[in-house]
């Protein structure tokens, strides 16, 4: 304990050179839930990337004689679907499409929201116009807006990704806007203005790193939700189109065979749930790791960094 004063005195300076990755890494190691989450996600991501090599069969090849066979069929561990396609292979290939369709919109919307939110926070007139437009989009339930946009644009993965990006944009922009407004009043920005730094440089060099953290934190908490929404759109027939293997489509395919082959619908939902649980476990830790207020405690205590009160 005697080194406490020393640590408090010395650490913050040393901390300045640490990158955000360091805190993320530290946070994940310190929290076993986050460790489990990242382990699951790595496995799923690996399976998705290596799908052509590890999937036992082609996801579109059918074995008509074995159609609707349940879990535990010889050679087909997780059974076969209504067209006699191997479920395990379809799930592994489905991980590719589902994860891609769920994660891409989060990236794209953050990419659009960061400049939009920065400029909106800088220029008040532009900002108030932008935020009024966003207010209108907030008036829609997220899923409804996604369904409506995707329905009008027509089915297809690209259209679905565009729709989800638009849906996420107001939420992400608000996060960036609020963060940038706080930064705007801080002294380093004042100093930059005083030394006649050009505005674009202030926004995209000085302010950007501090705002990006807020956006990333928000993105990690929302990505599970977007994966569910994307799978839901495909379930409705608005997203990825059959015969492509995608978890939402497989669930939808199985609906008519609930009486004799419930595994078709139930397995992909379990896959979605496991991935989303993993993202949610990880999201909490990333939020702590990237939040300047809690990251100090992460660096100090190698053990459990969380306050006593909260899992949430």
């Amino acid at each position: 304990m005697q080194s406490n004063a020393e640590v408090i005195g010395a650490k913050p300076q040393a901390l300045k050179s640490r990158s955000s990755l360091y805190f993320i890494w530290r946070g994940i190691l310190a929290d076993r839930y986050a460790l489990v989450g990242s382990l699951i996600l790595s496995l799923v991501a690996l399976a998705a990337l290596l799908a052509p090599w590890i999937a036992p069969f082609d996801p579109t090849v059918s074995f008509p004689r074995l159609r609707l066979q349940g879990i535990g069929t010889p050679d087909h561990l997780l059974g076969l679907d209504h067209q006699g396609r191997d479920m395990l292979s379809r799930l592994i290939w489905g991980a590719r499409t589902t994860l891609f369709a769920g994660i891409t919109p989060v990236f794209l919307s953050a990419l659009c929201a960061i400049p939009l939110g920065l400029i909106a926070a800088w220029n008040e007139k532009f900002g108030s116009v932008i935020m009024r437009v966003m207010d209108v989009l907030f008036a829609f339930p997220m899923v409804l807006l996604a369904i409506m946009l995707a329905a009008f644009m027509g089915p297809g993965m690209v259209n679905m990704i565009i729709a989800l990006t638009i849906v996420l944009l107001p939420y992400n922009t608000r996060v960036v806007y609020v963060a940038a407004q706080q930064e705007r009043n801080s002294s380093y920005i004042e100093a930059a203005i005083a030394s006649a730094t050009p505005t674009p440089k202030i926004l995209f060099v000085e302010m950007l790193p501090n705002v990006v953290a807020a956006s990333i934190v928000y993105s990690t908490t929302i990505v599970g939700n977007i994966i569910i929404t994307a799978a839901g759109l495909s379930f409705l027939g608005l997203g990825v189109q059959a015969p492509t293997a995608e978890w939402g489509i497989i669930t939808s395919d199985g609906r008519q065979y609930l009486f004799n082959a419930a595994h078709i619908s139930l397995l992909p939902g379990i896959a979605i749930m496991v991935v989303v649980v993993a993202f949610n476990l990880l999201g909490d830790t990333l939020r702590d790791a990237l939040d300047p207020r809690t990251r100090l405690s992460l660096a100090r205590n190698k053990s459990v960094p969380k306050s006593d009160t909260g899992d949430n």
């Binding site: 437009v133 409804l144 009008f152």
Partner: protein, 314 residues
Amino acid sequence: MPRFVLMRLLQMIPVMLGVSFVVFISVYLVPGDVARTVLGQQASDTAVQALREELGLNRPLLVQYGIWLWDLLHFDLGFSISQRVSVSTLLGEKILNSLILMGFSLFLVITLSFTLSVYSATHFRKIGDRLAIFGTLVMASAPTFWLGILLLYVFSIKFPFFPTSGMHNFYNPGGFWEVVHHATLPAIATAASSIAIVTRVTRSAMIDVITKTYMTALRSRGIRRRRLNYVHMVRNALPSFVNISGLQVGYLFGSAIFSEIIFNWPGIGLQLYDAILQRDVPMIQGCSLVIALMFVISNFLSDYIVRSLDAIKR
């Protein structure tokens, strides 16, 4: 308070106008010609022209919006292309059905998550609390469309306690309990993820209250634990409970769409799905608009409730 209500009602007008404009303008996302898309490639040019005329597609954009809005204020949402009936007549009867499902789901969210969070907070870090935390984590991560199918499979097919679809018994319709019987599974599917989220947030708020110094002071004055938990803790955590419940209403509207589709609940969500399958543009517009407006109104109501609770506190 009346002033607050009036202000909020006035603020709702631009939001509703904005919502209607977004719904109106979204039609331009339809690739190519709306009329052609609706009628199909083999339709004759005269038929396409007639439909363009009917939909008012030949006029300037703002004029189109003005006419559309004027019609909307007279509850005229145009004609459903696939069913050749007025959209508003068709939706009118579905709104009540959707509201019944929503109301039931909201009831489940409020009662279950409140009970669960009180239990969890009073058993902080005990086995029950940990189970609740794990359970809510899983529940919050389950997609509604899958959960609905799971409930349908387990409680309607494997163990037929509940009907698989619809809202009434076809042969002998009527009665409150019959609707409840039909609504139970869809309402659980709709409410599940919201129950989970509300429980987690409320539990955190209650534990926050427990660790406050005034609670220690109360405890040291010899106030019974039961009174501490059920009066002081609950009362101080109530605003965040109401707040998060209000925020969840938007999710409920979204999840209800999926529940209605899976359980064939004759509401607006199911209507929207049918309209999407048939590329029925006015119908998609009508359904989206009605759901969005219900959402705006429910936001107003939850704001009002949060506000009035604050007043009690003061």
